[in-house]
């Protein structure tokens, strides 16, 4: 069997062996691990013979004590266990036993080596001989069996509890029902019960054979561990601003990926929508956007691997153990050049020692868009009424010529359907003391509320840990994921034309007087109506356009941790991040030659493949030591290397001769275009962190990281980041303890710097790209400048101050976390404007600074808590102030055609428009400084503020344009409540935001009622332009909405009429759960089972007119012509405080599910 060595010599041997392992043997080890995973817990031996009964023949001459013991071990079933005392195993001994017993051999050894033996079952403890008890050189203890059940405070059996005989290594873990059976030496007096989240307690077992035990939860919850960068830390010792979200918060939400679940859960975290269609990534920021033009997204770290949001999306939410959001420099500086935007760490579940356990989760549901969540447009009667008014009271010809007087199509009703949702997860976990494992699989399928939209995901995970000894851990994690995002319109690829090509936009824009189908049964299109925008029919669009994105991700890693001496852990890992994306976009054009806006008249096919290969090597040393009662150290140092490579290849072709097949050569070869790209970046880092705690009262954390990144200019590749933090556990001070109601109080202060390297690869290098040119029919290649380059380019640095207070009061009834932060980003990566006559409009450099400061408050109150009934209420709120401090000498930078301005003293972006102040009334004499656009205005015209007082109104770029509202969200909040009565639990989550504006260019441009006489056009927002319009002096409307047809005065299209408040409060989720009593379940072998039902996006209260106040609809590539300071390739433009189209509506999702374990 196994000899448990605790001797240095042997440790060295093992280490040496491991160190010698080459890559190949690493692989072999993996395979061994896999085979070991099938090991099942060893059964304890019921009948063990005494050393007096076992015969042995042994003849040894001047061998080491170690070898002698090994010999006995080999020939018998006994194991020797070395105590912590140092025993010289190298001393030479002789043995000559013929047909003797093991006891005789041991006695002999005892005399020679001065050791004593104590048999407990098959184990023989080896100790120094106690000279006072010579006769006890060999002691045989008889067993007694203790049985019992360990339960929690509610009487539920707790599986996996460690039950240990005090001061020995004899122990076992409880089974699935919490039962245990343990053979203990008859002199054992005390059992120790320990379990994560519960107090470790000792029980006297003298004279008892049945020991049932109720574990007491660790009320202070201070033993809670949170995941921090490159390690874990006891929550009580944390000095940074970290919010931890546990698996229980995620498990019952009907979401397909983790980013969908975070909204409203953590202070400082803001989650918006990129699109409401299935499979779309959310827009996530931590403590607001701190950069003008580099990336704003937090770093995602999945089981230690720094990666991106797409990888996070591919994780099965049920596999997640916890999510930690790292917000201040104390916690993020360890991520150096990638920490400035915050860090979100996802930790997946691991197996626990114990019997195999299966967790199954099945849920299914459906989604639909309630009337209130739709974009409200005019019906036929209203549409005719409006255009009649606009036409001077006469129904215009385009209506009388086209409309049958009956047709009143509700295009959204026609298009929107009920989506479905199903999600199946199963995981198996368990392990022995040597191997623990978790294997899981997940299938998710979601279809959208628009035909053809969907998200399907297959994911699997294996987390394996192998402990060849209690000083060595080898772990392996493999997580392949495959998902498919499908769409049925070309919004994503079509840039600005997507305004007309999204199926939902078509449904919003098509006039209600157009029938769904023509008389011959074919689909109507906009072009059927003379003078109407030639929109496609959404029902036809979703049939003809097919887009799929196949996403494969594989995140895997091997990890070896060795603890050569107590407290010192050397950890080395190699991980890899493999991915491939495959895009396929096929449009089968109808061959009627009729234009459909945003779509070609010929069939087109686009294919693209992207591949990414990344690897990471981390080598981390940690050392933990307690000196005396007062000083505790925890030091970490490490070296990491990371490399990511991307490769893309794609082709597009049009004029497909045969519809349907995915064959590029079916298209006209003259239309074939192809592209490829190759890119890579590398990062070399040194990192270190020291934690020190004095008397558990004063805490100190210092962090440093030095990063070298290939992304930056050759002159500026390396930079050091660091932070310093202090914590003061007030609750350990007598004057606080005297108050009596403070369970925990901790004051935290941190200051430090982190960086952002979120810019495209190679942008620091001056480079050229090929460009096609022709002379007549001769085709040649030319070049254009793709990047002016800047060899001095370096990091954005964010200097972050955080002051926080953690409070737990009145026996865990009140939990409060309060943080103040002040983040100042300097050396902003910014395109510095150049005079355009230089041939460039700007080049990327480091200038300027901006600041986000704010307050975050998270509170949780357990109003009632007892075994039958509990009620808790929690919430969080963040207040953020944003200010641009410096723009490298410029006063302002124009963005998005100048409609958004970055101004010193302003927010990240302020809306810059001509301010509309009302509607001209009949006979009204306009006050000074207010004019209509026209020199001869009519009642019902829009009037504007004349800023320069010249008596005429200019457009937004002229003197009457002014900076109005900012786009920063002043307040972001979420609150929740949970009520439990016996097995029933009801929880609800609300979230919202306030204080931010966006410039809604949709409602004032494409979605504005067209004014030109004889130019009937798209349907438009009823709330925006119909309700409240000026009709006559007796019906003057709301004083904001112009008379029918009076909108397009040349100024209004970029005016404050488009400034919309994005305030909203959303009833995000309600979930009802019922836990089936164990008494029923145990009969069918099930550990626990819950059934639940939930509704997501129950209701939204908002004044915002549109589908979703936190959605931004903007072209994929962003503005190219006059874009200002955007850096291409960094962002999708959705961080802009601007929307230019109608996004997909936010569906309500009903889910029913069952979770059970056995």
């Amino acid at each position: 069997m196994i000899l448990t060595y605790k001797h240095e010599q042997m440790q060295i041997k093992i280490l040496q062996t491991l160190i010698k392992l080459s890559k190949l043997s690493f692989c072999i080890l993996c395979i061994i691990c896999l085979s070991l995973s099938s090991l099942i817990a060893r059964e304890s031996k019921a009948q063990v013979k005494s050393v007096k009964e076992v015969q042995i023949d042994i003849n040894l001459n001047q061998v080491s004590l170690f070898k002698a013991l090994k010999m006995i071990e080999d020939r018998t079933s006994f194991n020797f266990v070395l105590s912590k005392e140092k025993i010289n195993l190298n001393q030479k001994v002789d043995l000559d036993i013929n047909r003797g017993t093991v006891e005789e051999a041991l006695l002999d050894l005892s005399r020679q080596a001065g050791v004593s033996f104590k048999q407990i079952n098959e184990n023989i403890d080896v100790r120094h001989l106690d000279k006072r008890k010579k006769d006890l050189a060999v002691e045989i203890l008889r067993d007694k069996t203790i049985v019992g059940k360990v339960t929690d405070e509610n009487g539920n059996g707790l599986p996996g509890v460690n039950v240990l005989v005090k001061d020995t290594s004899i122990g076992i873990v409880t089974d699935i029902e919490g039962n245990y059976k343990l053979n203990v030496p008859d002199d054992a007096t005390t059992l120790v019960f320990s379990y994560v989240g519960y107090l470790t307690e000792e029980v006297d077992i003298t004279g008892r054979t049945t020991v049932d035990f109720v574990l007491t939860p660790d009320v202070e919850t201070l033993s809670e561990v949170v995941v921090v960068g490159y390690g874990t830390q006891a929550k009580k010792d944390v000095t940074g601003a970290i919010t931890s979200i546990g698996s229980e918060t995620i498990e019952q939400r009907p979401v397909t990926s983790v980013d969908n679940v975070l909204q409203g859960l953590a202070p400082g975290l803001n989650v918006g929508a990129r699109d409401n269609a299935p499979g779309q990534l959310s827009r996530i920021t931590v403590r607001s956007i701190g950069s003008l033009s580099a990336g704003y997204e937090p770093l995602w770290v999945i089981d230690g691997f720094p990666t991106d949001q797409r990888n996070a999306q591919s994780i099965n939410p049920a596999d997640i153990q916890s999510i930690e959001i790292l917000k201040d420099a104390s916690s993020t500086a360890i991520y150096g050049s990638r920490g400035a935007n915050g860090v979100i760490i996802i930790t997946t579940k691991k197996g626990k020692q114990g019997d195999a356990r299966f967790d199954v989760s099945v849920n299914t549901g459906f989604s639909s868009v309630p009337e209130s969540a739709r974009y409200d447009v005019l019906n036929a009667q209203e549409y005719v009424q409006y255009h009649t008014e606009a036409n001077g009271g006469v129904t215009p010809d385009f209506i009388t010529n086209f409309w049958d007087g009956q047709t009143d199509t509700d295009w959204q009703d026609e298009l929107l359907k009920t989506g479905t949702f199903q999600n199946y997860s199963i995981s198996a976990s368990g392990g022995t003391e040597k191997v623990t494992y978790l294997l899981s699989g997940n299938y998710t399928d979601q279809s959208g509320v628009i035909s053809g939209q969907g998200f399907t995901k297959y994911s699997a995970r294996m987390n394996l840990e192998y402990h060849p000894s209690d000083r060595i851990t080898f772990s392996l994690s493999l997580a392949p994921n495959y998902s498919i995002v499908s769409a049925s319109d070309n919004t994503e690829v079509n840039g600005l034309a997507g305004l007309f090509s999204s199926a939902y936009s078509q449904a919003v824009q098509l006039a209600p007087i157009i029938p769904v189908r023509r008389n011959d049964g074919s689909f109507s299109v906009g072009a059927d109506m003379t003078g109407f925008n030639p929109l496609g029919n959404p029902l036809e669009t979703v049939q003809r356009y097919k887009s799929t994105q196949d996403i494969f991700r594989f995140l895997g890693g091997m990890n070896l941790a060795i603890e050569p001496i107590e407290g010192l852990i050397l950890k080395s890992s190699i991980s890899t991040n493999l991915g491939s994306d495959s895009f396929e976009r096929l449009y089968n054009a109808p061959n009627d030659g009729i234009t459909r806006n945003g779509y070609p008249v010929v069939s087109t096919l686009g294919l693209a493949k992207q591949q990414q290969v990344g690897w990471l090597n981390e080598n981390i040393v940690t050392y933990k030591r307690q000196i005396g009662q007062d000083h505790a150290f925890d030091i970490l140092g490490g070296f990491t290397l990371q490399k990511d490579q991307f490769e893309a290849l794609g082709a597009n072709v049009s004029e497909l001769q045969v519809q349907g097949p995915i064959i590029l050569s079916l298209g006209n070869s003259e239309t074939l275009t192809s592209f490829n790209s190759l890119s890579e970046n590398t990062l070399v880092s040194l990192l270190g962190r020291a934690n020190y705690s004095f008397k558990e009262r004063y805490l100190l954390t210092a962090t440093v990281r030095r990063d070298g990144s290939s992304r930056f200019g050759a002159n500026n590749r390396n930079q050091t980041f660091g932070s310093f933090a202090l914590g003061w556990r007030l609750s350990k001070e007598p004057f606080i303890q005297d108050l009596g109601f403070v369970d925990n109080a901790k004051l935290r202060v941190s200051y430090g710097s982190t960086g952002s390297n979120a810019i495209p690869n190679f942008i620091a290098r001056p480079s050229l790209n090929p460009v096609n040119q022709a002379f007549g029919s001769a085709q040649v290649t030319g070049i254009r400048i793709s990047s002016p380059g800047n060899p001095g380019l370096t990091w954005e640095t964010s200097k972050q101050l955080n002051i926080g207070l953690d409070l737990t009061l009145f026996d865990d009834k009140f939990n409060i976390v309060l943080d103040y932060y002040n983040n100042e980003t300097t050396s902003l990566l910014l395109s510095r404007n150049l005079v355009a006559s230089s041939g460039f409009t700007g080049f990327l450099t480091n200038i300027g600074s901006m600041r986000n400061k704010g307050i975050e408050l998270a509170a949780n109150v357990n109003l009632i808590e007892n075994s039958e009934f509990s009620w808790s209420v929690g919430g969080n709120v963040t207040k953020n102030d944003q200010e641009i401090l410096d723009l490298g000498g410029d006063d302002e930078i124009r963005n998005f055609f100048g409609a958004l301005r970055r101004t010193v003293g302003g927010e990240l972006q302020n809306i810059h428009v001509t301010r509309a102040v009302g509607i001209l009334r009949e006979g009204q004499t306009l006050p000074d400084g207010v004019f209509a656009a026209s020199a001869t205005p009519q009642p019902g015209d829009i009037i504007y503020e004349d800023v320069d007082g010249n008596g005429a109104i200019s457009n937004f770029l002229g003197p009457d344009g002014q900076n109005l509202e900012g786009t920063n969200l002043d307040w972001v909040f979420g609150f929740n409540t949970k009520v439990r009565y016996k097995g029933f639990e009801l929880s609800a989550l609300f979230q919202g935001q306030s204080g931010g504006y966006i410039l809604d260019l949709y409602n004032i441009q494409i979605g504005a009622p067209s004014a030109a006489p004889g130019a009937p056009n798209l349907n438009f927002s009823k709330e925006y332009w119909y309700d409240g319009r000026y009709i006559s002096e007796s019906q003057p409307g709301d004083g904001r909405t112009p008379a029918a047809g009076r909108f397009n005065d040349g100024i209004s299209t970029v005016s404050s009429l488009g400034n919309q408040k994005t305030d909203y409060l959303r009833f995000k989720n309600i979930t009802l759960t019922y836990s089936i009593p164990e008494t029923l379940l145990s009969k069918i072998g099930i550990m626990n089972a819950t059934i639940f039902t939930s509704i997501e996006n129950v209701k939204t209260w908002t004044d915002f007119i549109g589908v979703n106040p936190d959605l931004r609809f903007i072209s994929n590539g962003g503005p190219s012509l006059f874009g200002g300071s955007r850096i291409p390739g960094v962002s999708d433009g959705r961080e802009l405080g601007l929307t230019i189209g109608v996004g997909n509506p936010l569906p309500r999702i009903w889910t029913f599910g069952v979770n059970f374990s056995f």
Partner: protein, 487 residues
Amino acid sequence: MKIYRSLFVLLIIALFSGCDDFLDVVPQDRIDASTFYSTDNEMVIGVNGVYAAQRLMITRGDGGSPLLFTLLESRSDNAGMDHTDQAERVETDLFNEGPGNLPISGAWEALWNIVNLANNVIASGPDAVGDKALIDRVAGEAKFLRALTYFHLVNIWGGVPLRTEPTRDFDNTILPRSDVSEVYNLIVQDLTEAATILPDEYAGGNTNEIGRATSGAALTLLGKVELQRGNASAAVAALRQVEGRYSLLPNFADIHAAGNDNSDEAIFEVNFNPSNQTGWGGNNAFIPASVAAEKGIVAGGSNRVILSAYPTQDLVDSYDPSDLRITGTFGITTEGTYIGPYISKYIDPTAAGQGSDINLVLLRYADVLLMLAEALGEGSEAYGFINQVRARAGLPDIGPGDPGTFMEKVMNERRWELAFEFHRWIDLQRLSDTDVISIMETQIESQQLNKFGMAVDISLTSDDLLFPIPQGEIDISGNVVIQNPGY
């Protein structure tokens, strides 16, 4: 333990050595700009890029027609714009643009991009290795292209910063405006050099493609430049060298016909070729959708109720109804979404999704004949040149006895012959300010009444004859670049 420690130290050392290499990632999917233009072949590719940038100047547009068209044709009395469109797109049509106008700053950027790329080629010429004759020729092409661009710049904005070196030092990019005469001096110098170094024609084939700038193109442009700055005799001297080297095509419409690239009449064209992904798509904005459908143009036309650019009634009415050039210049549609005259000069019935195969003719022989006539001044030789052009249009000869001044007759002929070919606004600059102001005021007022039923009273000054320098240039330069008067 010692062994273990030293192993760990070794590991770190091993990993650190070679860190610099690890961080020095060389891009493989782009061309390193710092070493380019160093061989004859790279010089050819470099100058091809200048031609491509010139093409982009034409294709670059905002809301419909090309930016340069907006500034040189829609600005003039030839074409109108859609005043129901976003205001900033159409301000230039009614002379109410400010220095923040977007199409103007777009055109400014596009033109300076050409200058900078040409400067890269010209500056690299002396150091490039390889076939010296080829390198010199390529530098000559770049000089022609730079001169053409400066000619546009100086006519749109007046004196502009004079840049002759590529921009490489981003800390020193600001240059003040030079005088108009200094800009012209550079143009003339470039063209004089180009005329001597460029071949009369190209053989075709690799690096010798037909369509590159020729000595004829340089001389024609030189003649145009001299005429524009009032040196009639220098203009005659230059144009005389082109006389007879090209000929008028018998059929006017063939000049702009799809696929009829670099014809006998063409002297310099901006080349488009759909099969090379360099087709011209912008012309669709000129063609109403109903006309496109009628002509079976797969690529379709504009769906607008009012086209983003269309012929003014003034232009339409000015033609002799028997002028054969009418059909090759404009059409009038009475059905469909758009009703009224539209530009038919650039219709390509074979155009598909990747654009049309029409080259944009910037210099052609009819222009040479009319410039010669103008430079020579009234006389029989001048009328002879004019009448060559008129003959093809099926119009009778004119002479001193016909009504109007000689200049009016030349200008009208140029207007009819060269409408929508990016000449009109430049041609108008050769008239007196009062004449231009009068022409524009009359035309705009009648056009507004005619098209939009709007009575406008427009009053222009000499300041309106130059466009405003984009505000960004002025702001970023810290007022080193100064604005034109009146803005």
